[in-house]
């Protein structure tokens, strides 16, 4: 399914990353990453496992600290924020984890309520219920409201994970491997959901993946991360229209053209 292009404001970058470096011990994962995410855009970051794709979005969300470089999110430099300011900024960013990271001890309802109750002190019961129902409907899983995460399938968990981030109406969505470990049909459903979220919530997103179907269906722009830097960037067709011996196989091993 081809993605319906949403309007992108190329003058307004919601995330700006410049010269980002991050190392773990002696291993330098990110070696000077530059990136801009524009308002309303879905940017797909492709790369092999271990190239630092997840590290990149963890630095953007402030979960990890950069060794060098600057990260500016919605006009605020991450490393210059106080804990309170960072907390306030994070409410405007949705983070969908690779393994969904649902709270095991809570039902779906409690999982969804949690960020809302924590961040909007004094919110009424009626408003909470309405918000929970709204996001569950958005991910088409209203029937799971009283189930425990352990009772859900992998695809359902991903959807609930996304719903949990949507409940705070984020301006930016960060998806970490949204289709990892799912069957092809569920993958397509998740890709469609990502596009729906972009359209309905007017979000700008970074989608980390190595699934080319996901990249093609959801990405307005693709960036290929290799050796700790973006080596190629542009439309899906442009990125893979190359004879580069390290990028070409990535495309050839997948079965879509």
């Amino acid at each position: 399914m081809e993605k319906q292009k949403a309007p992108i404001d190329h003058k307004n970058a919601v995330i700006r990353v410049h010269g980002l470096k991050k190392a773990f011990g002696d291993y330098e994962v990110l070696r000077g990453v530059n990136l801009e995410l524009y308002q309303g855009e879905n940017l797909v970051v492709l790369g092999r496992s271990g190239t630092g794709k997840s590290v990149l979005i963890k630095v953007i969300s402030g979960l990890l600290q950069a060794d060098a470089g600057t990260v500016e999110v919605l006009g605020q430099k991450i490393d210059q924020l106080t804990t309170k300011e960072l907390q306030a900024l994070r409410i405007r960013i949705g983070f969908s984890f690779q393994n969904s990271a649902l709270y095991d001890s809570m039902t779906v309802r409690k999982n969804l309520e949690f960020p809302l109750v924590r961040n909007r002190r004094g919110i009424g019961r009626k408003e909470i219920d309405t918000s929970v129902e709204r996001v569950l409907e958005a991910v088409s899983l209203s029937q799971t409201i009283n189930q425990m995460p352990s009772e859900l399938s992998g695809g359902q968990r991903k959807r609930i994970g996304i719903a949990r981030t949507l409940i705070l109406n984020p301006e930016i969505m960060l998806y970490d491997e949204p289709t990892a470990g799912l069957d092809p049909i569920t993958c397509i459903e998740i890709n469609e959901l990502i596009n729906e979220v972009q359209e309905r919530y007017k979000t700008s997103s970074i989608i980390i993946t190595h699934d080319l179907t996901c990249a093609k269906q959801t990405g307005d722009r693709i960036a290929m991360l290799l050796d700790g830097k973006f080596q190629r960037e542009g439309s899906f067709e442009h990125v893979f229209d190359t004879d580069n011996a390290r990028i070409k196989p990535f495309f050839d091993y997948n079965f879509i053209k």
């Binding site: 994070r90 983070f95 984890f97 095991d104 961040n119």
Partner: protein, 273 residues
């Protein structure tokens, strides 16, 4: 035999390797001491500043109490019963079995009740906290809390540490009373002492210092169980192995510290008697 052989008994590379190992162990030890210290300081910084997590603290208190209640009841009763039974022959030799209630109460209220409660709670509650937070760390649930604008340290660590600090003294008092009841069963069966007489003899030798020391001990033990469990779980490394290590580390470290604290507090209180 050539006595001029200067070859070292331990070859140089082996020596270097051994020293490198010792140096690494020492570095790791001091690094972990520093980390634990920072963790405790962070707890005191965050626990007493708003917003307060009263609801979660009450829930954790309930969890801590309920998790250990049955085991503590059973152990407390048996400790009292066995202690009285084992002490009887020694006192009988001097015809001093009438001192049994006093002996039981001193032993139980001064030492056994807080210690037994703390050791059971370290096993039940400490391991559970370590495993729970460890698995939350491994499955990125703690990160998920952080990115959704919640302070996970305050919500997960401060609440659990406060809960164990508040609950263990209550449980220790309960253990003391149950143990005294166990002792009464033995005294009643052997001597037919009435409950009223027994209780009078039990509380007679106890002083204000005994109760205060027991209370302080329980608070310190509760804090130790909570902070060690949380530290191990919150900082557990990736993988299921990390969760197991966190649970195990929570129990072993807490028990070790509890014994050291017991000795220290007993020594300090003895100066006040």
């Amino acid at each position: 035999m050539d006595t001029t052989d200067t070859t070292p008994i331990i070859p140089e590379p082996v020596k270097q390797k051994r020293f490198a190992g010792i140096r690494k162990s020492l570095t790791d030890f001091f690094a972990s001491l520093y980390n634990i210290n920072s963790f405790i300081i962070r707890f005191f910084k965050e626990a007493f500043l708003p917003p307060y997590e009263f609801k979660e603290i009450i829930r954790q208190c309930y969890e801590t109490g309920v998790r250990s209640f049955t085991l503590i009841s059973l152990t407390g009763f048996i400790v009292g019963l066995i202690f009285t039974k084992q002490s009887r022959p020694s006192l009988a030799e001097f015809g001093a079995t009438s001192w049994l209630p006093s002996l039981v109460s001193i032993a139980i209220m001064r030492a056994l009740a807080p210690l037994v409660t703390a050791l059971i709670a370290a096993g039940k509650v400490g391991s559970s906290i370590g495993a729970e937070l460890g698995s939350m760390r491994v499955t990125e649930q703690i990160d998920a809390m952080e990115v959704s604008g919640t302070n996970p340290f305050k919500f997960l660590v401060c609440t659990r540490v406060l809960a164990t600090t508040l609950t263990i003294p209550i449980l220790a008092t309960y253990t003391g009373l149950i143990s005294i009841l166990g002792g009464f069963l033995n005294v009643y069966v052997n001597e037919g002492t009435s409950y009223r007489t027994y209780i009078g003899q039990v509380f007679d030798p106890l002083s204000f210092i005994d109760f205060t020391a027991a209370l302080i001990k329980s608070i310190v033990f509760g804090f130790t169980i909570g902070i060690v469990g949380c530290y191990q779980g919150y900082n557990s490394s990736s993988g299921t192995e990390g969760v197991g290590k966190a649970a195990n580390g929570a129990v072993v470290t807490a028990m070790f510290l509890i014994f050291i604290e017991e000795i220290t507090i007993v020594q300090i209180t003895s100066w006040f008697r």
